[in-house]
């Protein structure tokens, strides 16, 4: 597969009509193209172009998509190239990705797309040979006729296949896992070559003739507004073209509004921004700080819930009557996404049409929203979805694309709106602040018979782009809909505990919130699995054995969980002697994809936690690209370590206090542990893995810290002072 060529072609593909790519024809005439469906173009020179509708954020969509298609198409992998599908939502229903759903949501459709093309080639060849279709078979990019040993390549069949009526892909039988040639094998990433030579083009790399660069000075106080500004000095900065106010957007998204500076380079724009004299009106939210928010949250943890999510047996009564009761509270603060590529979007507003280049994970929403804002029909808003330099949930918001449109509509040239790192850290949509109060009771015989969990968060749904309107946290009452985003992962099943109650109370905050890699599962397993560890120790039990006993159920889910627990424990050497000062912690998670993790840590004299090793066992159904599963798991583990060791966004005066990587400290290579990922062999339907690895790091590390020091960590990021005291 072409490397730089692939990426280069991707960019060209945005600009050139189809015939522009027909370079294989010696006569200069366009090559014949067979388009069996929206995802495939096959040319007479045996080139197969796969149009990938899922965004490529680093998770591997430009590799797993062609793998799934090639599997059924029986393609020759070396003939495949990849292009981003155009943003035409009527044709492509999956121009977005989230919830680790990239493989899960396309596994059948993409295989069917490949099967449809294969069947049409089979029919075309059989027709050409006047042979029976059942005597023909597809293999490595060609149709073979067994009885006569004849062969026609897909390229040779392009013409004939194009003339056939389409075959319904839903009628086709798909291959059995034992026959897979691509799925289940580690295929190198198609986008890797362009990502090592600088040719991979991200949103911020878009270069359009005549373009300008813009930045916005945003109101730093959430909910505040621009009072006045003086642009005299900014306009005097060499290279600055325009300075103007940008209002906060009226629609259901949090854009701060402020003053835009447009210039002939990003540098000139930021220099112009520095020269602005700005006055902000803090308005009603100026009083909010992390301390005031925390006070509110702790109050809510003791007050009335707005809904009960799960209620089995009678946990309240069982707890009251228990022989031994334990309680603990767990807390994790706001987190930023801090993608390496800061937010940006390039927009060219022309007469009655708009062209947009955006690193987004939600291209159809960008199109719909800019259409709504501009009043143009969506088909007049062309959206090119570029590579994204990381996302972790951030690019599900379209605020930065809408802002870019706001700036570009004032300018006749195309404008690239660039966020600086300070903009990114201070105007993110943060992982909700959360606080969980857990209680458990044992009966006289020492059996764990009751458990209750109260979750308090600053809910995402209060700033939810799906609802169309801004929902008040106070009205968040239906645990099955958007509210599930706040508590999912806190269910104790498949642990068997007869009385269980899970309820919820919201706390309002001025800070915008959103999905952050693994959403509520970034904090619910922290509380649940750490509490299990506390209960095990309170009973003098080994935390692994304690879990296995709670998983004695005959359910398939309990069995999967036992398997991953035992696999992770075996590879981590659970229960074996460790070097002095080290401790291990274990945690597990059930769901479509199951996982268990063992972390091994030590604590330095100054209280710094060193994570030496994380062993992860993953049961994600069939691993479409096992090396991709390993890469996602490694990355997710490291991502979560930031939130465990150092990352925290705090508020003062209704504004974020952090601004760049010196005060929002993310994991660096010298803190990165050894990681082992063990995949459970499976032929089951694939489950998601993009977020899975992040969920168990907080409880595994916190429990390992307890094993090493005897100190319970119940708030993240871990405060070294807490552990320093234990050392002295």
């Amino acid at each position: 597969m072409g490397g730089a060529g692939t990426t280069g072609a991707l960019v060209l593909g945005f600009y050139l009509p189809l015939r522009g790519r027909a370079q294989g024809s010696s006569l200069g005439a366009p090559l014949r193209v067979f388009k069996p469906n929206a995802w495939l173009r096959i040319t007479a020179d045996n080139q197969i172009t796969v149009l990938v509708e899922k965004p490529e954020l680093g998770q591997g969509s430009r590799t797993y998509t062609p793998m799934m298609i090639a599997e059924e198409l029986e393609a020759d992998w070396s003939t495949i190239r990849v292009e981003q599908a155009p943003t035409i939502p009527a044709v492509y229903k999956g121009l977005r990705t989230g919830g680790s759903g990239g493989v899960v949501n396309t596994f059948n459709a993409m295989r069917r797309a490949g099967a449809q093309a294969r069947e049409m080639f089979l029919a075309a060849a059989a027709q050409q040979w006047n042979a029976k279709k059942r005597d023909c078979r597809a293999q490595n990019g060609a149709i073979l006729h067994g009885p006569t040993n004849r062969r026609l390549s897909y390229g040779e069949l392009v013409d004939a296949a194009s003339k056939l009526p389409p075959i319904d892909p839903d009628d086709l039988a798909l291959k059995q896992p034992r026959d897979f040639r691509f799925i289940g094998n580690s295929i190198p990433r198609t986008d890797a070559p362009g990502k090592v030579d600088g040719t991979a083009s991200f949103g911020i790399d878009v270069r359009v003739p005549g373009m300008l660069f813009g930045v916005i000075a945003r109101c730093p106080y959430f909910g505040g507004a621009l009072e006045s500004f003086d642009s005299t000095a900014a306009k005097a900065v060499r290279g600055v073209h325009a300075v103007f106010a940008v209002p906060p957007l009226p629609r259901h998204i949090n854009t701060a509004g402020g003053v835009a500076v447009v210039a002939d380079s990003t540098w000139a724009a930021t220099e112009g921004r520095k020269a602005l004299a700005l006055k902000w009106d803090k308005r009603r939210h100026a009083g909010e700080s992390t301390d005031s928010l925390r006070k509110l949250i702790v109050e809510r943890a003791a007050g009335q819930p707005t809904f009960i999510a799960i209620d089995h047996g009678d946990a309240t009564e069982a707890l009251a009557g228990s022989a031994k009761k334990m309680e603990a509270c767990y807390e994790s603060p706001f987190q930023a996404h801090a993608t390496m590529e800061p937010m940006n979007t390039t927009v060219h507003v022309r007469n009655n049409e708009i062209e947009v280049w955006s690193p987004t994970q939600f291209a159809d929403e960008v199109q719909a929203e800019i259409a709504a804002l501009s009043g143009l029909p969506p088909d007049k808003v062309t959206v090119h979805m570029t590579l994204s330099g990381g996302s972790f949930g951030r690019r599900y918001q379209w605020d930065y694309a809408a802002e870019a449109w706001q700036v570009a509509r004032e300018i006749k040239e195309p404008v690239q709106l660039v966020w600086t790192r300070e903009d990114d850290i201070q105007h993110d949509f943060y992982r909700p602040y959360n606080y969980q109060r857990l209680s458990a009771g044992f009966d006289e015989r020492g059996n764990l018979n009751s458990w209750s969990t109260r979750i308090v968060t600053t809910p995402i749904s209060a700033s939810n782009l799906y609802t169309g309107t801004t929902e008040s946290p106070e009205t968040l009452r239906d645990p099955a809909t958007v509210a599930a985003l706040e508590w999912y992962g806190a269910d104790i099943a498949p642990y068997v505990i007869p009385n269980f109650r899970l309820d919820y109370a919201p706390a309002d905050s001025v800070a915008p919130r959103s999905w952050w890699r693994s959403v509520s599962s970034s904090y619910t397993p922290f509380a649940k699995e750490c509490f299990i560890d506390e209960l095990a120790h309170a009973c003098g039990r080994d935390p692994l054995e304690f879990r296995l006993d709670l998983l004695s159920d005959k359910s398939a889910e309990a069995a999967r969980l036992r398997t991953v627990l035992e696999l992770a424990a075996k590879h981590a050497g659970w229960g074996k002697p460790l070097p002095k000062g080290r401790g291990q912690g274990i945690a597990c998670r059930a769901g479509e994809s199951c996982s268990a993790q063992v972390a091994e840590v030590s604590v330095e004299d100054n209280g710094t936690v060193r994570v030496h090793r994380v062993v992860s066992a993953v049961d994600c159904g069939i691993a479409v690209n096992p090396d991709g599963v390993r890469a996602m798991t490694e990355g997710a583990i490291n991502f979560a370590l930031t939130a465990v060791l150092s990352g925290e966004i705090t508020l003062k005066d209704g504004a974020v206090e952090q601004s760049n990587f010196h005060d929002y400290q993310v994991l660096r290579i010298d803190q990165a542990p050894e990681i082992e990922v063990h995949i459970v062999p499976s032929t089951g339907d694939p489950g998601g893995v993009g977020e899975l690895g992040a969920m168990l790091v907080p409880p595994a590390v916190a429990s390992a810290v307890f094993a090493a020091t005897g100190v319970r960590v119940r708030r993240l990021p871990i405060d070294p002072q807490l552990l320093k005291r234990s050392k002295s």
Binding site: G3, L57, G58, Q59, G60, P188, R189, D191, A192, P193, G194, K195, V196, D197, G198, A200, S201, F202, I204, D205, R207, F213, R238, G239, D264, S265, T266, W267, T270, A338, T339, M340, E341, P342, L387, S388, G389, G390, S391, V418, T420, R421, A631, E634, G635, I637, N638, F639, L641, N660, F661, H662, V666, L667, R668, I669, D670, A672, E674, I675
Partner: protein, 153 residues
């Protein structure tokens, strides 16, 4: 504004520029060499790493007017065909995920191996600690540098 001359990837450039403009923005916005990335603007993340006479520097902290006669090499000029041992090792170990920070990582790693052809894990960690990867491909970065070092027999 001043007339600034500088050499990038073996080619001589001259432009009317504010000499205080960081080399990063001269490369990206003036020369359209977009392989060098903007990450933080404060020398904290390493995404903008280029070579100045073979040494790794943060181009966001290097004024274009200070480059003088030193030769600038960017990711586009590291090799004509992705054949640099570090680039080959990066592919062999399947390092990139989103890939945004990787040009900076690769330039930093190439400078490290030029200076120290057989670094220990500690030396790799120390040399690479200024380069952030949010996809956190750190384990593979370490393996790739060791692999490339293995070719320095």
């Amino acid at each position: 504004m001043a007339h600034v001359n500088f050499s990038v990837n073996g080619k001589q450039f001259s432009a009317e520029l504010d000499p205080a403009m960081p080399l990063l923005w001269a490369l990206r916005d003036v020369l359209n060499l977009t392989g060098t990335k903007f990450g933080c603007g404060m020398g904290l993340c390493g995404a903008c790493t280029v070579h100045l006479d073979g040494e790794a520097v943060r181009s966001c902290q290097t004024a274009v007017g200070s480059v003088g006669n030193k030769k600038v090499t960017t990711i586009e000029g590291l090799s004509p065909d992705r054949s640099h041992p570090v680039q080959r090792a990066w592919i062999a170990e399947q390092v990139p995920q989103c890939g945004y920070c990787q040009p900076g990582q690769i330039m930093q790693a190439a400078a490290l191996l030029h200076q120290n052809p057989h670094p220990t894990i500690e030396q790799i960690n120390q040399a690479m600690t200024g380069n952030i990867c949010r996809c956190a491909t750190y384990q593979r970065i370490r393996r790739a540098i060791q692999r490339a070092a293995g070719e320095n027999a």
